[in-house]
Symmetry: none
Subunit: 193 residues, 4 copies
Amino acid sequence: MNNETINTEKREAIVQAMLELITERGFHATPMSMVAEKAGVAAGTIYHHFKSKEEIINEIYARLKANMGEALVREDASEEDYKKRFYRFWLNLYYHFIDHPKEFLFLEQYANSPFITKVTKEENQRYYQPVIDFLAEGVWSGILRNMDVELLVAMVYGSVATCVKLHLSKELDMNQNRVQQGVQASWDSVKMD
Amino acid sequence: MNNETINTEKREAIVQAMLELITERGFHATPMSMVAEKAGVAAGTIYHHFKSKEEIINEIYARLKANMGEALVREDASEEDYKKRFYRFWLNLYYHFIDHPKEFLFLEQYANSPFITKVTKEENQRYYQPVIDFLAEGVWSGILRNMDVELLVAMVYGSVATCVKLHLSKELDMNQNRVQQGVQASWDSVKMD
Amino acid sequence: MNNETINTEKREAIVQAMLELITERGFHATPMSMVAEKAGVAAGTIYHHFKSKEEIINEIYARLKANMGEALVREDASEEDYKKRFYRFWLNLYYHFIDHPKEFLFLEQYANSPFITKVTKEENQRYYQPVIDFLAEGVWSGILRNMDVELLVAMVYGSVATCVKLHLSKELDMNQNRVQQGVQASWDSVKMD
Amino acid sequence: MNNETINTEKREAIVQAMLELITERGFHATPMSMVAEKAGVAAGTIYHHFKSKEEIINEIYARLKANMGEALVREDASEEDYKKRFYRFWLNLYYHFIDHPKEFLFLEQYANSPFITKVTKEENQRYYQPVIDFLAEGVWSGILRNMDVELLVAMVYGSVATCVKLHLSKELDMNQNRVQQGVQASWDSVKMD
DNA sequence: CATGAATGAGAATTCATTCAT
DNA sequence: TATGAATGAATTCTCATTCAT
C-alpha cells in the first residue's frame, strides 16, 4: 500500500462519512466531530484534506454530479430511435438515483444552497451537456415541442425527481408499472403532438 | 385595541420575521435573537407564544399550506370544462407562488424536513383535498390517463414547482408564453391521449 | 440593588479577571473559560458585555490610561516652582504604577500591540495632554533643554518605566533613596544646564 | 558541502524564519507550520534540531544577546576619555538596534517573558559585563553620580531603548540631531554635576 | 404577558508535536 | 536526518432557552 493509497483512503472515508451524515441529518446538524468519528480519523485530520466544512460539500457535489453524468449516458446508442433514447436517459437517471438515494437527497438539498460555489457549479455542468444537446436536437428536428431548452431540461429532470421522491418517501411503491407511467407522462409532456 | 389584538400582533410579527429570515438564511443560520429583533420583541417573549423554534416552523408550515389551499381553488367553477379547470388550478398555484416566493421557498425547504411533525402534515392535507378529488375524478371519468392519484398529484405539483423555481432562480424569464408552455406540458403529461 | 448595578458588577468582574490573568499569563495564554471562571460568570456572559476578547483589552487599555492620567496630575499646583511640579508628576506616575503593578505591566505589554485599535489609542491621548503641555511649556520658557517634545515625553516616561520595572522585577529594592536618584537623573537629563 | 554544513543551514533557516515571524506576529500567532514553510523545511524537521518551540526562542535570545554584546564594545579604546567611551557605547547600541530592528523588537518582547529560562538569561549576562564594569568604574572614579550600578545600567539602557522605539514606531524621525539630544540627555542623567 | 441578562453545552477550527516511512 | 500526514486537546465564540424582575 503506497502513500497515495493511504491518503486516498482517509480522504475517501471523510467524504463518505460526510455524505451519509449530511443526507440523514443536514449540514448544520452534522458536527465535524461526528464526521471524524464515523470516518475513523481524528478531527484535525479532516483539515489536512479540506480547508473547511463547506469545501467538503463542494467536493461531494462535484463527485455526485460526475456520477450522475456517467449514469445518464450509460448504454446510449445514437443510432436508436429518439424516443427510445429519451426513455433510456430518463430511466438511467431514475434508477441511478434509486440505487444511490443519498446522492439524490444530497443533490436535492444542496444543489441550490449557498454552500455550493458558483465555480463548483460551473465546473460540473459539462457532465450533463450531452443530454442537453440531445434535447436541443429534439426540438430542432421537430420531435419535441418547441420549448426553451432550459424549460425542457427542468421539466424532464423535475419529473424524474418527482418519481424518485415518491419512491424514497415511501408514499407510493414505485413498481415497474408506475415507473412506466412516470416516464411516459414525462415523454408526453414534451413530445410534439 | 384590546389585549388579544396586541397578543396577536406580536405573534404575527414573530411568525413573519421567522418566515422571512428562514427563507433567506435557512433554519440553523437564523438565531432566535435575530428573529426577536426583526419582530421587535424581546427574545424571551417568543417563548410565551411558542414552545420552541421548531414549533414556529410548524405554525408557518400550517399557515402556508392553508394559504396555498385557498389560492388553489380561487375562482373555480365546477360547471366549467375539465381542462379549463385544470389550467385554472395549475395557474392559481403557479401565480400564488410567484406572488409569495418566500412561501414557496419555505415549503420546498421544509416540506420534507424532520422539523415538520407528522401531525402537522396530516392536519394540513385537507387544504388541497378538493384538488385531489378533482384529479381522481379526472381519472375515473376517463379524461385523465389511468395513473395512481398520488403519482398524478406529485407530477402536476412538480411541474408547477419546476416553473416557479426557474422563475425565482432567474435562470429563465418566465413570460406568459413560457408559463403557457409549462401548463400545457403538464396537461399533456396527464391527459388521456 | 438595581439592574444597572448588577450589569456593572458582572462587567467589572470580567474586566478585573481579564486584567489580572492577562498580566500574569499574557493574552494568548489566557483562555476565555479561565476569565469566565475567575469572574464567576458563564462563558457566554462575557459575550453579552463584549463583542470579542480583543474588545475587552481595548476597554482595559482605556480605563488604565484614564487612571494614569488622573494619578499624574494629582495635587498639582500650577503656582509651584517648575522643578517641583516636574518631580511631583514624575513621582505621581511612579507611585501610581507601584501601587497598581498590573496596570503598569498591562500597559507595557499592550500599549504597542495590534490589539489596541488606533481609535482606542487616539481617544485616550487626552488624559496626559496636561503633562505634555507642561513639558512643552518648560522648553518654551527655557527651563528645559530645547528638545522635541515627543522625545522629551518619551525620555521622561521611559525613566519612570525603568524604575518601576526594577522594582517589580525585584532586581533592585527601590527604596526612597533610589527613587530619588531616579527622578533626579530624569530631571538632569532634560533640564537646561 | 559536508553534512554538518547542511545541518547548520537548516538550523539557521529555522532560527531566521522564527525570528522574523515572531517579531512580526508574536509568539502565539506564529504556528510552527509557518516557520517550517518559511524556513523551507518540513514541520517534523524542526524537532530534530529543537526540542520545542520555546527552545528556539531561547536560542534566538542567546544569539541576539551575543550580537548585542559584540556591537556594544566595537571600536572601544580604553585610553579614550570616559565621556567619549560612554557616547560610543551608547551609540553603538543605538545603531546596532537601528540596523537590526527585529533583534530589538524580539528582545523587548521576550527579555521578560517566561519563555526565556533563568539559565538562558544567566548564561548570557557575560556579553555585556564589560560595559557594566565600565559604568561601575565611572561611579567609583567619581565621573558618574553615586548610583547603584543596576539602576545606572537600567537607566542608560532605557534611554537607548526609548530612542530606538521612537524611530521604529515612526513617531519621530530620529535624525542625527535628535540622536545627539538622546545620548546627551542620557549622559547628563548619570554624570556627576 | 414582556423583558433581556445570563446560561453553558456545543460548534468549527487550530496547532505543537509525534512517528512511520 | 528529513518528511509531512496524523493526532486530539484546546480555543473562541454562538445560540436556544430560562427566569428573576
